[in-house]
Structures are given as structure tokens and as C-alpha cells.
């Protein structure tokens, strides 16, 4: 179940699955780890996605045929790779009110109370399948269908940074101020992308996100700490439930 194709003259795409699944995601993580260890000359970087890894490389240093052969060889040793444990990054979220103007809409759409929406949303470890869309944006899997809600009919022109939203059966966090049609249920003071930080990107594909409910006061305290540079989101080793 490994298919390699040329993707332009500087790209090589490795398909590792056909559907979105944890199993495929594990294969992608394993291959990414192999690529990191192998340091094949000519490879510039790679983009892991739901079902594939696309490598960008310099054809002056390595041709498509040679790189394809190296990847085929590498994929054979992939099975032996032991993945490091996945981490869960805690994202504090202030739900409802000004932070989450659509919380009630999500609740009434699903016939549950606002509190239930929060309990369902905050009680899950979401797998980060891939990053994309905007710098630092995680594509999360695993949201309960019980709180799935269609996008707004008319998208908002400006969504504040850190907004936590629902679109269909997906949930996510806006890393930048952009227009968007997601139902906003809360907001986090934690910045998913900050180019002035030593690690500009907070999250990584293959890890998990857990939303933790906080009050407005806690939101302000954390925000102040972030400004002083003294706040680090909690991280722990992921445990299958």
C-alpha cells in the first residue's frame, strides 16, 4: 500500500493510505521519522497530509528515479521504526460569551445544553492529522457527531486569533485573523503561530490536542503570562482511552 509518483519536477508524492485513519497517520509518522533520520541529500522538506507525504527536493542534487529508489528502500525498514509516544498539548479555552458567540447555536442545533456542548468538546483528545490552511493550523480528527454543526451561511469577515470553532464534524483553532464561516464556541489566549517565538509553531502532526475549559479570569491571567513570555501550555504523553 505504498504508491510513489512524481509531483512536478521538484516533488515526489508517497501515498500511504486511501482514507483518513489513525493507522495511515501512524504510517505517515513512521515514514517522516525515517526521512528525518536518513537525511537524504537533496531533500528540502516534506509535507505530511491525511493520506500521503509529499517531498520537495532539488533535482540538481538527486533525480526523481534515484530518490524514488531511496524511498522504496527506506519504506522497507519503516516497519522496524519505533515511534516515540505521541504528546497531548493542552489548549485552555474560554467557552461561550464574547469568546464563543455561536455556542448557543451549536447547542440548539444539536438539542443539548451549552454546558453539554462544552463537556463533549473539552473531553476529547483530538489527533492532529496534518497542518495546513494557514501557518500553525491543525486539522483535528475525532470530534463527537453530537456537536457537529454546519458552517455559518454568511461567513464572518474577521475572526479573532485563537477562536475555537466547529464546521460540520470538524473542530479547529484559528491561528491568524482571517475571514471564516466556522461556528465559534470559544477562544484560547495561546498562540498557535508566533513568528517571534523561538518555536514559532506550537503543534505538530501526529500529536494530540485537548481543550481545557477555563474562566474569563483565567483567560486574562494566561494572556498576561503569554505577553511576559512565562506561559507554556501543558504537555503530557498521550494514553489511549
Amino acid at each position: 500500500m505504498l504508491r510513489i509518483d512524481a509531483y512536478g519536477d521538484m516533488g515526489l508524492r508517497i501515498q500511504l493510505g486511501a482514507t483518513i485513519s489513525k493507522e495511515t497517520n501512524n504510517k505517515i509518522r513512521s515514514l517522516a521519522l525515517c526521512l528525518e533520520k536518513e537525511e537524504i541529500p537533496g531533500i528540502i522538506e516534506w509535507i505530511p497530509t491525511y493520506t500521503a507525504i509529499s517531498i520537495s527536493y532539488d533535482p540538481y542534487i538527486i533525480s526523481y528515479d534515484k530518490l524514488k529508489k531511496r524511498i522504496e528502500d527506506l519504506s522497507e525498514s519503516m516497519i522496524e521504526v519505533k515511534l516515540p509516544p505521541a504528546m497531548v498539548v493542552h489548549i485552555p479555552v474560554c467557552y461561550g460569551g464574547e469568546c464563543g458567540p455561536d455556542l448557543e447555536t451549536v447547542a440548539s442545533h444539536n438539542g443539548v445544553s451549552a454546558d453539554e456542548v462544552i463537556n463533549i468538546h473539552a473531553d476529547t483528545d483530538y489527533l492532529i492529522y496534518m497542518m495546513g490552511f494557514t501557518p500553525g493550523f491543525p486539522y483535528l480528527g475525532g470530534m463527537s457527531e453530537k456537536i457537529a454543526t454546519p458552517r455559518l451561511e454568511t461567513p464572518r469577515l474577521k475572526i479573532p486569533v485563537g477562536s475555537v470553532g466547529i464546521a460540520g464534524a470538524q473542530t479547529g483553532v484559528y491561528p491568524m485573523e482571517t475571514p471564516g464561516g466556522w461556528q465559534l464556541i470559544g477562544r484560547t489566549p495561546v498562540k498557535l503561530f508566533d513568528s517571534s517565538r523561538q518555536d514559532p509553531i506550537l503543534l505538530q502532526a501526529g500529536n494530540y490536542v485537548r481543550f481545557v475549559r477555563i474562566t474569563e479570569e483565567e483567560y486574562q491571567t494566561i494572556e498576561a503570562k503569554i505577553k511576559q513570555g512565562t506561559y507554556q501550555p501543558k504537555r503530557e504523553v498521550y494514553q489511549e482511552k
Binding site: 509518483d5 512524481a6 509531483y7 512536478g8 519536477d9 521538484m10 516533488g11 508524492r13 482514507t19 483518513i20 517522516a32 528540502i44 522538506e45 516534506w46 509535507i47 505530511p48 497530509t49 491525511y50 493520506t51 500521503a52 509529499s54 520537495s56 533535482p59 540538481y60 533525480s63 526523481y64 528515479d65 496534518m130 497542518m131 495546513g132 490552511f133 494557514t134 501557518p135 500553525g136 493550523f137 486539522y139 491561528p175 491568524m176 482571517t178 503561530f193 513568528s195 514559532p200 509553531i201 503543534l203 505538530q204 502532526a205
Partner: protein
């Protein structure tokens, strides 16, 4: 140093892009015409990946505050120094007190002012490239404004005026040549007839084109299944086809991933010809093999290396 008297349409600082962070969703950005920027840098004794000033269609007015060796490479936007036309693809001296202006676009949309010593702006995640949507790179992450001062680094000792690109190597952006592509990764999702149409008909560049991508208008391409795929990687020159059947060629400010079906990817050496098209221009595509595309890439790389050696900047 230069002072911005008039900012022009969208004048930005660009290098070869912010690579290495695409797996985190960070847009690469960088020069729309990477060949022109690299040649410009070579001519003024810089490293090829140094940043330059990207000028788009309506150029800025820049006051020269100190003597510098510069080059202007890319589209002919009628550059003038104190009102006198100046040559392109050739290094020249500008003196304190002079004013650099631009006029009518003659043969494309993007040109690069490179200055000996390079642009003195901070590296953000390894690059000086401006990506205005995330407000990073260049000067405060934005396009230039009136009153901005652009500072330059220390020139290499080899720098001199009068170094030019051989005329036969100057790209002819208006040649109407076919844009060469490598089919895939999703061309199987189109009907055979649609792939044929894509490779035989003409497409026109629409005005909804920018640093993110070129939107084309022409014979509709039909998909066997829906237009959406599971979100996947995008590279420079990737041609997406959304449900309306009209292709979009993704360029410097493209997102790293997308959910539309990809019929083909433009080969690297032809990307400048796509970037330099103006709204209303027509183009046609031709499919070639990966081997051939990579041969052309290596040829261009060798040309740039030879130029660097000749200019003493290798």
C-alpha cells in the same frame, strides 16, 4: 539606503522563500520570478538567495540616499533614473540624490531591484520574504509605504557596474511559448477528453490573479467524480481545478495544502513565464516527462552557476 517616495502597487521585499516550515502550514512566499531575482543578485555580487525589492506592474518611486550598485531584472516596467531610461539585466551605479522611477509595463508584471550587499531586514524563520497575510518578513510584514527607508548590507569586494546577462539568456516573457507541465498527481480524476482539452486549448489569465495564484478562464474541465480530494500538499506551479472546471495555477503565496483536484504541475523553469503573464494574456500547456523537466532544471542551475563564476560571486 533608499527612501520610498511613492510605494507603487504592492512593492515587497522577497527572497527565494521561507522553506522548511511547510509541514506546519507556513506559506513559502518569496519571489514570483525566482530566475530574475537570482540573476539580479549574481549581477551585483550577492548570493543567489539574497532578497531583492519585488516591483509589481506599477512601480515605486525611490530616492537614492547613498551610492549603490544595483540591477533590475524581470519584466520591463520601464525603469528610469532621474527620468532617463536605464538598461535592465545589467549592473549599474546609482548615486545619492538620484531618483528611481518606473513607467509602463512592457512585457510582464514582476521585476526585481537587487542591490549590492543585499537588503538589511531581519531573517524571520530563515527568510526575509514578505508574507503580508501573516504579517511576516520584509519591512513589518507588509508592502512598502511612503517614507520607508530600505537599508542595505555590505557589498562584496568583487562588485562592479556593467556586468550583464548575455542577451540570448534574457527571458522573452511575451514569446507565447507553451507552458510545460508534468501531469498529476490527480489527472486520473479527469475524463481523458478533459485532459486532452487541457493540453490542446488556450486559457486566458483573469484579473483575479495575484501572488497566490493565476486564475485561468477557458474550456471547462470535467471531473469523473467530485472536484474535492482529501486535503493534500500543494507545490509551486500546481494546477488545481475546482468544481467550476476552471484551472488555477498556484504560485509563491499558495497555501501549503488544499482540497481541490490537481491536474498537473508547471515545470520549475517555466514558472517565471506564468508569473509574468498579465490579465488577458493567453497560454497553452504541453505535457513533458519528469526526466526532461529535470534536465531543463539542471541546465538552468548550471547556467546560474556559470554566471556566478563569471561575476566572481560563486
Amino acid at each position: 539606503m533608499f527612501e520610498v517616495v511613492k510605494p507603487g502597487l504592492t512593492t515587497t521585499i522577497q527572497d527565494l522563500g521561507r522553506t522548511g516550515y511547510q509541514q506546519y502550514g507556513v506559506v513559502v512566499s518569496g519571489a514570483m520570478d525566482a530566475f530574475a531575482l537570482q540573476v539580479g543578485n549574481i549581477l551585483v555580487g550577492n548570493k543567489r538567495d539574497e532578497a531583492g525589492i519585488e516591483v509589481v506592474i506599477m512601480g515605486p518611486t525611490l530616492r537614492v540616499l547613498a551610492d549603490h550598485v544595483i540591477a533590475i531584472c524581470g519584466a520591463d516596467l520601464s525603469p528610469k533614473l532621474d527620468g532617463e531610461s536605464i538598461p535592465m539585466w545589467k549592473s549599474l551605479v546609482v548615486k545619492a540624490g538620484q531618483t528611481l522611477t518606473f513607467g509602463k509595463p512592457v512585457n510582464g508584471g514582476y521585476t526585481y531591484i537587487t542591490v549590492a550587499g543585499g537588503i538589511d531586514t531581519p531573517l524571520i524563520m530563515g527568510s526575509k520574504a514578505t508574507y503580508t497575510k501573516a504579517e511576516i518578513g520584509g519591512i513589518e510584514g507588509r508592502s512598502l509605504q511612503k517614507g520607508d527607508k530600505i537599508a542595505f548590507g555590505k557589498p562584496s569586494s568583487m562588485v562592479k557596474a556593467g556586468i550583464g546577462l548575455p542577451i540570448r539568456q534574457i527571458p522573452d516573457y511575451r514569446s507565447g511559448r507553451k507552458i510545460r507541465v508534468i501531469l498529476g498527481p490527480d489527472h486520473d480524476a479527469f475524463s481523458g477528453e478533459s485532459v486532452e482539452r487541457f493540453l490542446s486549448e488556450h486559457y486566458k489569465l483573469t484579473s483575479q490573479s495575484d501572488r497566490m495564484g493565476s486564475r485561468l478562464e477557458g474550456p471547462s474541465l470535467s471531473l469523473l467524480r467530485g472536484a474535492d480530494i482529501i486535503s493534500d500538499a500543494i507545490f509551486p506551479g500546481t494546477i488545481q481545478v475546482p468544481a467550476n472546471g476552471q484551472p488555477i495555477i498556484l504560485l509563491a503565496d499558495r497555501q501549503t495544502t488544499g482540497g481541490y483536484t490537481r491536474i498537473a504541475t508547471v515545470i520549475t523553469v517555466d514558472l517565471p513565464y506564468v508569473a509574468q503573464m498579465l490579465p488577458g494574456n493567453e497560454l497553452a500547456f504541453e505535457a513533458i516527462s519528469v526526466e526532461k523537466a529535470q534536465r531543463l532544471y539542471v541546465e538552468q542551475e548550471l547556467l546560474l552557476q556559470t554566471l556566478s563564476v563569471a561575476a566572481g560571486t560563486f
